[in-house]
Amino acid sequence: MHAHLKRMVTIFLLLSMLIVFLTGCWDSRTIEDQLILTGIALDVADDPGKISVTAQAANIQQGKAGSGETGGEGSNESIVMKATGDSLTACLTELDRDSSQKLLFHHNQIRLFGIELAEQGIKKHLDLIMRDQKARLEVPIAIVDGRGEEALTAKLSEMPLSGLFLGNNFEAQSAISPQYRVRLIDFVQRLLDGTAAPVIPIIKVTGEDDKQEIKMAGMAVFHDDQMIGRLTNEETVGYILSFGNVKKYNIVVSDGQNQAGLHIATLDCKREVTLRQDGGIQVSLTITSVVSVSELHGFKEMKPPELLKYLENLAQEEIKNEITDCFSVAQTLDADIFGFCTMVSKKYPKQWNEMKERWSEVFSDIDLSIQVKVRIPETGQIVQSLEMEENMK
């Protein structure tokens, strides 16, 4: 028993010594001494070869950050800082030095690139972001039509912190289709595919001083890490649809005089790639979709059963057209935004090796066949439109 006691005392001494010697608390940082970063934007600086970094952080001292309650006095909600330097590291060092608080990167909601920088190439700026364990790979990235800082300095009426707004917005859009939100990891995966062209959403800041808005403005198409062109919002639809996995999306179809709003409940796309005899490839997309009617204008002469058939046909045509349009844009840009090359490399690894060299030639010569199967099982609360009812009488 005595020896036991002695051992306890020794262990206690050892532990307390450890605590005394080791209590450096190196990693300890209290929350309130941190600037919680909500968005970061990279731009081309005025000096050639330099970049400028804009960081948006929540201002905890003022108002209720993050909630829209005090939207009116949004001016104090966010702190925006700017720095210019040769590299991202230099800029971040400068930002850190110039503020009294440390920057906290974990909660960054969005990474923005100015369009000018995107055209020059963004690969080298991604290295730090991927290397740093504090930065998260699932943070979405976007291109700003204009300068990146505009999006972060924008005063939105909806939510004072535009970084938070963008993060939430992309999150909500990804429910429609995962393609709407491009996370850093998605971008890097596409980048590593080699010949595939990564695509990043573009946003645009519109409006006057106090009532600014951020709008989606299509997608930026990259070749390797340089932006080479863009899809408009309309062309983007085809891009989105061609990947399938679309939920709760609305399209409008029309046959010239009549118009119908259709709600795509689900849309799936099966992609198949086969080699052609002449060395080219053939891609077939088989799309199956469940659609419901959300709005009808016209169609006065039709009875419900034939109307649904007719609408199904219209929808099939519409979806097909959207994809073909988008595909032709992609071909003119010579950018494989659909990732067809990845499919080839997975399915025909041997042939792929020699095809890689002449990919742009192959791509411009792809046989794209699209089969669309649309089903309209329901028409909402009413079957016929009011206009049709009139006709019946």
Partner: protein, 438 residues
């Protein structure tokens, strides 16, 4: 019947003692001091003309508390009787539950000055003889002056005196002790206290209450799991909070981070000091509430919990989230009363680890706790149990009684089946129409 004629050489007193008197304990005493002591301590002295010496007949009648509802373990459903301070009453309460010849009661006397009566009770042929021997040996070897409560015995015979976890169980309720004896444990009843020790004890026992077995098994299982979670909360909640706000900020959802940061804005102390202040304040209030007479105690807790907490937040000494964390920690601790003291100690250890190196420290604190639990043994039985087979049926869940046909493997020896085969209630209990049971 023996013959009426007495053999000449026998003493009349002996005859009286052995053949006539019905007292449980009569003693033939020769000297006057012996007789006097007997008389003084409440016994009856019988002197017979013509006999040297006299008989001291045990006829002590002490004032004793009636059997009443136990204070520490109240139940909604289940027997309400509790042990009293009288050894005989206690053993009879247990024996009334187990009317079986196998139930052995072994009387011992401990304490040089107090001469306290101690009873070991166990089911012969069910309890592990090794455990019985060990307890008998340890209690028999005790050389202490006084034994005033079971706590005295517990400290002297337990396996791990420096562990925060108790390795001997105790209860105030005869039904609980009877159930433990039926599982093969040994009960130690001590004169002068309503608490009865049971050994060996498993970690899982701390999470069991008497009512678990009287309520529906699904509900009992749910509550058991809840108790496990509550124990985790009471040990780890402050540590996790410290680790969150001073180390791993990335774990907090963004909007919550904003409100945490706002709440902490303007409080002067780091999270660890804040937590220490609050934990100590809570322990002080609790201790005050326990020791004071009940009406005053309640007032203290109300003043402490409501007014002081609120005042501390509005004065900017601690942040509001910390008050919430400590409150949930405190309340969760009361779900597992058996581990309340262990919880308070471990909580502080975990807080130091968290303040030192964040979640890594908490993780290794947890691992250290696990290693410690794995090293513990209670009279040769692994404290953590084996996580194995039938024994798990009554740990973090409680299976229906009819499914527990075996006594705990780690505790019972010999007769380990509780019943031949228990018929699950889903099967028809009445014979079929053909008159044959399936």
């Amino acid at each position: 019947m023996k013959s009426n004629r007495l053999p000449l050489e026998t003493d009349l007193l002996d005859v009286l003692e052995q053949e006539v008197l019905c007292a449980s304990c009569a003693k033939n005493a020769a000297s006057i001091p012996e007789l006097a002591t007997g008389c003084l301590s409440g016994d009856t002295v019988l002197l017979v003309d013509g006999c040297a010496g006299g008989l001291v007949i045990n006829s002590k009648g002490w004032e004793k508390r009636a059997v009443s509802e136990p204070q520490s373990e109240s139940v909604v459903r289940g027997p309400r009787e509790g042990f009293t301070e009288n050894l005989r009453t206690n053993t009879s309460l247990i024996r009334r539950k187990i009317r079986n010849g196998q139930l052995k009661v072994e009387q011992m006397t401990v304490g040089r000055k107090t001469q306290t009566g101690v009873c070991l009770m166990y089911l012969d042929g069910v309890a592990n003889p090794k455990v019985v021997e060990t307890i008998k040996y340890r209690v028999g070897k005790l050389d202490v002056e006084s034994v005033l409560e079971t706590g005295y015995i517990e400290e002297y015979i337990e396996d791990a005196p420096f562990s925060p976890f108790g390795t001997i169980g105790y209860s105030e309720k005869p039904d609980v002790v009877a159930a433990k004896i039926l599982e093969g444990r040994v009960a130690v009843v001590v004169d002068g206290t309503p608490f009865v020790l049971t050994a060996p004890m498993l970690f899982a026992e701390s999470f069991q209450t008497a009512e678990d077995y009287y309520a529906r098994s699904l509900y009992s299982s749910l509550i058991r799991i809840l108790r496990f979670i509550a124990f985790m909360i009471t040990v780890f909640a402050p540590a996790v909070y410290i680790a969150l706000v001073s180390f791993q900020h990335e774990l907090i959802p963004t909007t919550l981070l904003f409100s945490f940061a706002k709440a902490r804005e303007g409080t002067p102390f780091p999270a660890f000091i804040e937590a220490v202040i609050m934990v100590f304040a809570f322990e002080i209030l609790r201790e005050a509430g326990v020791r004071l007479p009940r009406p005053v105690g309640q007032a203290i807790s109300i003043v402490g919990a409501l007014i002081m907490g609120d005042a501390a937040v509005s004065a900017g000494i601690v942040g509001a989230p910390m008050v919430i964390v400590i409150a949930i920690t405190a309340v969760a601790g009361f779900l597992v009363p058996a581990l309340n003291d262990a919880g308070s100690m471990l909580r502080i250890v975990m807080m130091v680890m968290a303040a030192f190196i964040g979640f890594y420290g908490v993780a290794f604190g947890f691992l250290g706790m696990l290693v410690h639990l794995a090293t513990l043994e209670s009279f040769g039985v692994p404290y953590l149990g084996d996580f194995d087979g039938d024994d798990t049926k009554d740990t973090w869940i409680r299976m229906p009684l009819w499914s527990m046909t075996k006594r705990p493997k780690s505790i019972a020896r010999g007769d380990t089946t509780r019943g031949q085969r228990f018929i699950p209630p889903l099967r028809p209990h009445v014979p079929d129409e053909e008159g044959e049971e399936p």
